[in-house]
């Protein structure tokens, strides 16, 4: 079972206390954007075997959204971080690089 630490309340919460909220770091394309951008914002998602960035919500806890970096294959969790950011923190990226040199995920590597 997945256990993630909520960066807001510091609790090590297991999966049943959390709610998966899809992919992290989506860039919103709203009204007036190109059709292609809008379509990819709505529908196109990463589905990697390996390093992945996800949004989670501590639903039965403090209720906050946060981000998690983990490997979908080994279920290893590289870290969690607050949602008020546009990209993963450097220390988490370094951790992933140590384990999976040359990894990429969307525009991050």
């Amino acid at each position: 079972m997945l256990t993630l630490q909520c960066p807001y309340c510091g609790v090590w919460a297991e999966e049943t206390e959390l709610h998966a909220e899809g992919e992290a770091h989506l860039k919103r394309h709203g009204p007036g954007s190109a059709d292609h951008d809008f379509e990819s914002y709505l529908f196109m998602r990463e589905n990697p075997k390996g390093v992945h960035f996800e949004r989670w919500r501590h639903a039965s806890g403090c209720g906050k959204f946060f981000h998690a970096a983990r490997c979908t294959m080994t279920l290893e969790v590289f870290g969690t971080y607050p949602a008020q950011t546009l990209e993963p923190p450097q220390d988490i990226k370094d951790k992933i690089t140590a384990k999976y040199p040359g990894w990429t995920w969307r525009e991050f590597s």
Binding site: Y8, C9, G10, V11, T16, A59, S60, C62, K64
Partner: protein, 189 residues
């Protein structure tokens, strides 16, 4: 004015641990910047307590304050003091970005006493209730079986569970089943 009653009107159950609905209690949800001096002053004036640290409860001479999230507190006072406390906090927080709401009638509170009360909770919530992990003045928001709830520890070794009033019967029932004689775990003590 109609007479206020709590969700289960003080229902109790005696198993290997005792489950009791605690009756009416004043509860106020406060949201805002917990680090601000206005918040500290408002909490101090209403309860006599300081703003609690992460996942802690602080008790003052007029009430208690529990940490609910990085921007939310639960202020606990006597039931008949709740409206006055809301007015007092609103006045103290005037001008800052904050919300104060009386939720006394929207919640139910249960108290768990007796040996094995940690086991009663551990069967129902995905939380470490070991003595060294969870003690007096700790609060944890989690779930009880299938519904959200908050649990805090008292200095006398009892625990209090807060849930929404609409699920009070459900929470009482699952606590009852968990505390039934024959279901002792004797694990956490």
């Amino acid at each position: 004015m109609s007479k206020a009653v709590s969700a289960l009107d003080g229902a109790t159950f005696e198993g290997f641990a005792k489950v009791a609905e605690t009756g009416l209690r004043g509860m106020i949800t406060v949201r805002g910047d917990l680090a601000s001096k206005e918040m500290a002053a408002a909490v101090k004036a209403t309860t006599g307590a300081a703003v609690p640290a992460q996942r802690k409860v602080v008790t003052g001479d007029k009430g208690a304050v529990a940490w609910m999230s990085p921007d939310e507190l639960l202020v606990v006072v006597d039931y008949d003091q709740a409206e006055a406390a809301v007015a007092q906090m609103n006045e103290a927080l005037k001008g800052s970005h904050a919300l104060v709401a009386n939720v006394s009638d929207a919640r139910a509170v249960f108290r768990l006493t007796g040996d094995g009360n940690r086991d009663v909770l551990a069967k129902l919530a995905p939380v470490d209730f070991a003595h060294e992990a969870f003690g007096a003045d700790d609060i944890r928001r989690s779930r009880i079986a299938q519904v959200p709830a908050a649990v805090w520890g008292n200095a006398d070794g009892s625990f209090e569970v807060i849930c929404f009033r609409s699920v009070a019967q459900y929470v009482f029932d699952v606590l009852k089943v968990s505390a039934e004689v024959g279901g002792e775990v004797n694990h956490l003590g």
